[in-house]
Symmetry: C2
Subunit: 275 residues, 2 copies
Amino acid sequence: MPLFKKIAIIGVGLIGGSIGLAIKKKKLAGQVIGISRHQRTLNLAKKIKAIDYGSLDLKAVKDADLIIFAAPIETILNLAPSLSGLISKNCIVTDVASTKLEIVSKLEKFFPNFIGAHPLAGSEKRGIDFARADMFKGSLCILTPTKNTSVKAKKEVALFWEKIGARTTQLSAPDHDKIMAFVSHLPHILAFSLIGAVPEKYLKFCASGLKDTTRIASSDSRLWAEIILSNANCPQVIDVFQQNLNKIKVVIKNKNKELLVRILESARRKRETIV
Amino acid sequence: MPLFKKIAIIGVGLIGGSIGLAIKKKKLAGQVIGISRHQRTLNLAKKIKAIDYGSLDLKAVKDADLIIFAAPIETILNLAPSLSGLISKNCIVTDVASTKLEIVSKLEKFFPNFIGAHPLAGSEKRGIDFARADMFKGSLCILTPTKNTSVKAKKEVALFWEKIGARTTQLSAPDHDKIMAFVSHLPHILAFSLIGAVPEKYLKFCASGLKDTTRIASSDSRLWAEIILSNANCPQVIDVFQQNLNKIKVVIKNKNKELLVRILESARRKRETIV
């Protein structure tokens, strides 16, 4: 028996489309419907069998027993009030946004069975064209329950992610956002800043180092502006990075080779732990 | 007929070993000898047929008609004076170091047929174990001739790199170093600084973004300390980056979404040109 009768995915892009493909592959729902602002996206999602049915109208979520917001942060915040009038109290609602504090504090007011989720998967590519059924296989999905989160939402959303191949863990929304500011949002800010700082005429001399360090600067700019601005930790985390870079700059200016070797070696060892 | 009778490679690591493999594959030399401080490296280089003969003694370069320095910068600068007494005036000498101004200005005093070279290839991996015959295929090799460089050195070293699969171009040593400060040394400094700034306990939550932006922080720390310190442009290039990052931080602090989107979009478009 499928876990859910009807799952609605709001936003059928890279992540929403991949969730749809994974649900269908694992037969986790009687029916999967997709909501998008673009008919082309819905047609493509249906063609690749990420959804059974697509709609431009939010009302199509009626009767869903699981709703997954896979849209940009502001879209989620904008749609939540109207959605709350369309669904039953028993419906489980979750999302996949990259920052959690704002989304969780607002959405749990609208939905009695809400839990925030953040699958650590995806890529700099954008849109349903890059969706894959195995996107979440072996990845980590962070759930951010609060004291208000229902046992039902917590249990069923965790099970859902595990069924589509992710490991799950729980963090508070503030802890989640602080950690992501360091391990995800800061690297994106630096990648955008780095490519911005390199004179265009020098780019033809770039090798794999610059390519790798700036790959994520190919990410969607509006999506990332929203993510960065919705995480209140970003300015402080940039400060921490700037202090560290300043320290290294002083060592370089002083030509203190042995100290520089020690700093780089300590960074190298830390990096090795995540290979 | 091979291009050279006897090529000596001083330093048989990732780059020196790959050069040896490529020479042997393309049959560019009657004999290839490798010089290293470590017998194990020489044994391995011989075993994988990167060299015909290995020696711990620099004197083995005698009679070479091409000598390639593929050692760290300080090692090259230390060995140059003793090497100059061991070889004929006709011998062509080149190197593969990542910064050029210091090496070129010093080595052209010792060797009448010297030209600096920098193949834009390699990886964060280190040592002969990772050497590959096709390391330079399709890559760019920058030659840095001066007004003192002999026509013979310029012509034959360019031909050599082209024969092992690289395209060649010429830059002055100061231009080379300025460009590399932006497209290679700055990304390395930032990768080391970024991983240094992330609290260790958060690393288990890292996804592909942090992994990619810090891959090059796995590079050898002593080698990179020498590269960074030998490029006098590094402090100034860090300044340029810091100004750009500061600008972005102010926009984030002011929550100026439309301006942030424009800055990220401009970076994204620039990044797309190097994909």
